[in-house]
Symmetry: C2
Subunit: 217 residues, 2 copies
DNA sequence: GCGACTTTGTGCCAACGTTCACAAGCGGCT
DNA sequence: AGCCGCTTGTGAACGTTGGCACAAAGTCGC
């Protein structure tokens, strides 16, 4: 039951949510927590939570629950965010600007090692205390700061090119906000966030609700 | 095989991606497309794509493929984005500002019916041509413009309160960017986007890659 | 009109994820 | 010490999702 067991993808996504809840419990001074309480805070079923945690090992005490601090440590280790991990952000338009200023990254284990943009007009400008660098420096920064994660917040047209540069510099994980499907080598992980897609999914459910109303008549 | 068949959640998420690809094909002047080509553009398996489309009906022509325009129309109808759907956005801080200025919403079937914030300092300010309104006007706008979707881009502390107000005004779908789990009635859909969670998932995979390297030694 | 070729639509099965239900284990109370 | 109540950890059933492989159905060339 040690780290040898493979952890399902769905579980990993939830571990991050548990960690968030645990952090606010530490702030609140809570010492122990039951699976039921934590599950409620994370918005999941308690059985699912226990099964998720069981992939990491057995840290709970039957009859009592989990020690918040211990659990937080375990999940942080599993996710690899015990020390700050460095990321680079490419594209400081509307969205990139917001991301650069988002405090949640630092507080949850990430450090922005560099901001980059292609547009000469914004290079040198400081955002949240960080200067925007030109693309030519990307490679240097990635290697010097040992960056493994890149965030793409450019328009769709530039995204694949930026992606290729990131990969060439040694980045092996990419978070993509541009609305296109990126082509990457097999060893590189990509996660995408498409805001319009999220809205369209909600729209679909609205559509269903409306149809359901008619069916009831 | 008509609209009576229930469409899996996973399929709905991909339909939005197909729609995006189809839109750029229309722009490119493409008339027909095979499942293989569209699947490639959307980054999925062609069998999966065909199965997804089969939930909507049989619009393809064997030996030829799909008529781009027809398919686009069908998916749009299914997702309920044939006409522009109205949304309200609450919270015009860093992220809300970026979202308000994001052109992808309008181009993919959404119209921002109103921007709202609690902070008196930003009320009245115009963002992307829209004025920021005070929270007291939320209810009026939602009802007048028949808004069914709300976007929450406030800090975590304010999110639940904003959510309650949205629900009270009649919003039945919420896209939540605040890092907390929202409590809502059963008839309300919530989708959450947590940027730090996305990074933590990538971090986990980086962790695994690093561990894998050691194991190879 | 007919045959060869192409591509769709789908039945089937394997893999994955979720939920239930309960035995095992621990703390506290008497 | 022994019992009781509480909570974990997990085996087993169930539902969902993914992917192969192939029959059905159409086009194109002759």
């Amino acid at each position: 039951m040690s780290e040898g067991r493979a952890i399902p993808e769905a579980t990993v996504a939830r571990l991050a949510v548990y960690l968030r809840a645990l952090n606010s419990m530490v702030d609140g001074g809570l010492v122990t927590v039951s699976s039921d309480a934590l599950a409620h805070a994370a918005g999941v079923n308690s059985a699912k939570l226990r099964k998720d945690l069981s992939y990491l090992g057995s840290f709970g005490t039957r009859g009592v629950g989990y020690v918040v601090e211990v659990l937080r440590e375990q999940i942080s280790t599993c996710l690899g965010v015990t020390e700050h991990r460095s990321v680079v952000l490419v594209g400081v338009g509307n969205l990139g600007h917001a991301l650069a200023g988002y405090g949640g990254f630092r507080s949850r284990g990430f450090r922005i090692a560099g901001l980059f943009d292609r547009d000469a007009a914004v290079i040198g400008e400081a955002i949240a205390g960080l200067p925007v660098l030109e693309m030519a420096e990307l490679d240097t920064v990635v290697r010097r700061e040992d960056v493994s994660i890149g965030v793409i917040a450019t328009p769709a047209a530039a995204a694949q090119d930026v992606c290729d540069r990131l990969v060439a510099s040694g980045v092996t994980s990419i978070l993509n906000f541009a609305p296109i499907v990126l082509a990457v080598p097999g060893n590189v992980d990509v996660r995408k966030v498409d805001l319009a897609v999220e809205l369209q999914i909600l729209s679909f459910h609205e559509q269903r609700k409306a149809a359901g109303l008619k069916a009831v008549l």
